[in-house]
């Protein structure tokens, strides 16, 4: 085995979390949903990655075509995080694009930049209609890029 040579992906997500996020997206169809990704950032071989191990559903102002965090929801989540998951931090956010594919709109990029300043913060977009999901990071300027990731499950 050459485990040491395996590239470090920017994101690892527990299968359970992807299930929760997809469930949230399906429940609210045809409206968009939004939420926070919880976990921790780590470094390995000089690379920073995040391991997503939880999620919190956000209170959003949602329609079929746009979604935004309710103004006080970030503070609320930070508070519940301190209370219920002191070992976790917010490592990014998720939202759904019911039927129109996975990408970041200009509004999404603006939201990301205003709430998630760290370079390792990620955005997960789920399309429960086309049955697709993808991770993104916002880059310099007004761009974004898809990032490599892996879905993992803790062995029992």
């Amino acid at each position: 085995m050459c485990a040491e040579e395996r590239p470090v992906y920017p994101v690892y997500i527990d299968l359970e979390v992807l299930l929760d996020v997809t469930k949230h997206a399906l429940e609210e169809l045809p409206r968009e949903v939004i939420g926070f990704l919880l976990g921790r950032a780590y470094t390995w071989n000089g690379e920073t990655y995040v391991h997503v191990t939880g999620s919190i559903r956000g209170r959003s102002i949602a329609s079929e075509t746009s979604v935004a965090f309710a103004p006080d929801s970030l503070a609320e989540v930070a508070e519940s995080l301190r209370r219920d998951h002191p070992d976790k931090e917010i490592v990014g956010w998720y939202h759904s694009h019911p039927g129109y594919g996975c990408f970041l709109s200009p509004t999404d990029i603006t939201s990301h930049k205003s709430c998630f300043a760290m370079p390792h913060h990620v955005a997960l977009v789920v399309d429960p209609v086309r049955k697709e999901a993808a991770f993104f990071r916002v880059s310099e300027g007004f761009g974004y890029e898809g990032v490599r990731s892996a879905i993992v499950r803790r062995r029992v």
Partner: protein, 57 residues
């Protein structure tokens, strides 16, 4: 001397990624960063919702 610790942005701790530890198994990889086909997940959840799906692991 007073040292101010910023607890909101701790320095990431060194830890091997889940895919090189024995603790985790990899379900799927997105090698190109172009996303996943989550048909299986969606279909399984829809099956559970309708109560007709067989419970898959």
């Amino acid at each position: 001397m007073v040292r101010v610790l910023d607890v909101t942005e701790p320095q990431p701790e060194q830890r091997p990624p889940p895919d090189i530890t024995d603790e985790y198994e990899v379900i799927s990889r997105d090698e190109e960063g172009d996303g996943y086909d989550i048909s299986e997940i969606v279909d399984m959840l829809k099956g559970m919702e309708s109560g007709e799906g067989d419970a898959q692991p």
